[in-house]
Symmetry: C2
Subunit: 438 residues, 2 copies
């Protein structure tokens, strides 16, 4: 008889991603139109640019040795410097500033850490900060994969309602006051915002809320610092309007805001390279942890990206990606207007970037993962992500089930139009049932 | 006034690698011969093969999409299958078996996980198994980077003496009996062995100890399973003799042994790809944790490796690497014999593979990191890793300081010979001092 395995407390808190089932469905159902996965459009990977970059690198003995040897835990210094320049340029553009970009925050490449996608940064930061029972404040809804990390790390999550301007600052303050009254303020470690074209809603944090968010963190972080995690994964994918300054830009002393982003969305997920700009005091704790994880992410991928940035291929690629996704976003919004014109209670966001539209049915309509819509939609041949995965239970244990995340990332404009038609068709059956039931 | 950062208990347990200082020294001291770093010889990276593989992949639309899109958390299925075939072939050769390789253990690619180097597997396995205060049994000495992981994960480490046949099984049994008598057996989760050309000693676990190790784990794992972590990072780098069967091969039900290895040493660290074959019950817990870390290591690197294996470049490369390292190992052993011929108390291992030779001075000679030899060696222009980093304090709090890890990985045979001359020269001064002091 084999003795039983004895797993850690953390392993016992850790579960599969709630959308594993949906990914499996998408793979195993022929003809299914997926409006679910946040994958990247496959027709426009920069494969020629990557091929050329690798060839040039491998033909140069110095470059090939540098790319194929171990790198450093913190990441390739040149790419860290490039990342910082791009960040500063975005912020200068967002601020409409005439400042020399790098003067913005007195940041240096030593404040930058390169990671295995931005996901690894989310994980490492939690390891550096959280003990079991600590509190993180998220948007409602928020990035559901991060909820999984927080659950695994034993963290309690409180959430703040959003409106068209993203996380509501009045609601954030009210929540912090409630936590303070309950004696829980000492456990609040972090406020998490996906502030550009959020996953899952597509909403962006309004300009005037950005400095306000830093002020609130400072105000309530008295006995210890309350940090802000600014997840800017979708910032590059902007299809309309001008860039907004980062929350990080309102942290000139580099003490409050961790800014993280990724090359997965604007370049290629296969390179699995993300980055973060972190308060100087956090660099060593995070790098020590990362040293134990892997002592450095794929060095080859970092060298490839550095070349693509240097020779202009990366910037060109982002511009062309924006064109592709802009058309898809328009296709989705146009179809929603057409198909749901006769059901005015249904609302959806109008994102100016990113990969997602957030659809809200009337409050009593069940679009959840055990509800009837998801099954009917599958029967019609369209897959979406139930919005409930983006929520944590509120103070009464409730989770809204009337919401849907739609992604226009992988499907073509024609498939998107057909997918929305199928979704509407799946709803019609249920409207009737619902009408009968009432 | 900025409020202080509040780090996690784990962050407070986590420190920089003890050899950071040595790496920094090596980089910043011109003319220094490094016998310290376990880096890979830079003159023989497979850069042309990698260039060709990437070109072919990027020119093929299906292949390039597969390599540049997100992969899966567990890793590229084809590479998992190739890894398993190579493992089975090594074991068949090690066992001198006529069995069809894959029948060896009833293993399937579903039992394989691809990671960001084998380091990530070491980390993830600990997360899956350990709570603070649990016990891991290591060899004395052992891989010091793993000691750092265990310290960060709050684990207590006990160690087992080695001889020329690696970890002593009688000492392991005695330790387990002592732990049992102390009521600590329920906390023992794992026995860790680097069983091929160990880092840091170069020693290999003897053939007859391999099945014995599994028996002992079974015998003492009564209330819960005691697992074995077989770190085979150096297995491919064999310069003499025939392969030995893995410890894993004595676990036909796939319940006791986690086998891990890496492509960093036999191919290129820049690809940062490792793998593990794990008991079926551990696949989901580890993959759920890895999903939170990064939902998959660099997919591009996995696709590159798969191509190199398929087209034979990987196998050719391993053969040529063995030739290069064999000469370096011989250069180091020859120089040691010449330089230390007049000091017969000094002993060293005679590894048949790997990257390391372990040198033992007389017990009262201080080669430790605050001792005189390391400074004098630096003054002579040679760097080594103090052996004490591979040890944990014994039951009386003592750590031997008379040992030295020498690596022949990065330096040329000529540099190695010169490095050993310099090391001997650094000792001579100290012999005199020591003579005086006695």
């Amino acid at each position: 008889m084999t003795a039983p395995l004895s797993l850690s407390s953390q392993a016992n808190r850790t579960s599969a991603s709630p959308i594993s089932y949906f990914i499996q469905k998408a793979i195993s159902t022929p003809g299914l139109i997926s409006l679910a996965a946040g994958l990247v459009d496959e027709s426009c990977f920069p494969s020629n640019d990557i091929s050329a970059a690798v060839q040039a690198m491998m033909a140069d003995p110095t470059a090939s040795k540098a790319a194929l040897q171990y790198g450093s835990t913190q990441g390739y210094p040149k790419l860290r410097s490039q990342v910082l320049e791009m960040f500063a340029a975005s912020d200068a553009s967002g601020l409409g500033s005439a400042l020399a970009p790098l003067a913005l925050n007195n940041l240096t490449p030593d404040d930058v850490i390169l990671t295995t996608g931005s996901q690894q940064l989310l994980y490492l930061l939690g390891e550096a900060l959280f003990d079991v029972g600590d509190i993180v404040i998220c948007e409602a809804p928020s990035y559901f994969v991060y909820h999984g990390v927080l659950q695994s790390q034993g963290v309690r999550v409180y959430s703040v309602p959003m409106d068209d301007g993203g996380m509501r600052m009045d609601e954030l303050e009210a929540l912090l006051h409630r936590l303070e009254a309950a004696g829980e303020l000492p456990r609040v470690k972090l406020i998490y915002t996906v502030d550009y074209f959020q996953n899952p809603t597509g909403l962006t944090l309004a300009a005037d809320r950005r400095p306000k968010l830093v002020e609130i963190a400072k105000e309530f972080g008295r006995s210890h610092r309350i940090l802000i995690l600014e997840d800017a994964a979708y910032r590059e994918l902007r299809y309309e309007g001008s860039d907004l300054p980062s929350v990080k830009s309102f942290d000139p002393s580099n003490e409050y805001v961790i800014y993280t982003s990724t090359f997965s969305k604007p370049c290629a997920p296969g390179l699995k390279t993300g980055f973060a700009i972190v308060p100087r005091e956090l660099v060593a704790p995070i790098c020590h942890l990362k040293g134990n994880h892997d002592f450095g992410s794929s060095n080859l991928a970092q060298h490839i990206l550095s070349r693509l940035i240097e020779n202009g291929a990366y910037a060109r690629h982002v511009l062309s990606l924006r064109e592709v996704y802009r058309k898809k976003a328009q296709a989705m919004l146009r179809s929603l207007e057409q198909e749901f014109a006769d059901w005015p209670e249904v609302r959806w966001t109008h994102p100016r970037g990113g990969l997602y539209v957030w659809l809200s049915f009337p409050a009593d309509f069940d679009a959840g993962d055990h509800g009837p819509l998801v099954e009917r939609a599958l029967a019609e041949g369209v897959l979406y992500v139930p919005g409930q995965f983006g929520h944590v239970p509120d103070e009464f244990g409730n989770i809204p089930k009337n919401e849907v995340r739609l992604s226009f990332g992988v499907s073509s404009p024609e498939q998107i139009a057909e997918g929305i038609r199928r979704l509407r068709k799946a709803c019609r059956g249920l409207e009737k049932q619902r009408g009968k039931g009432l």
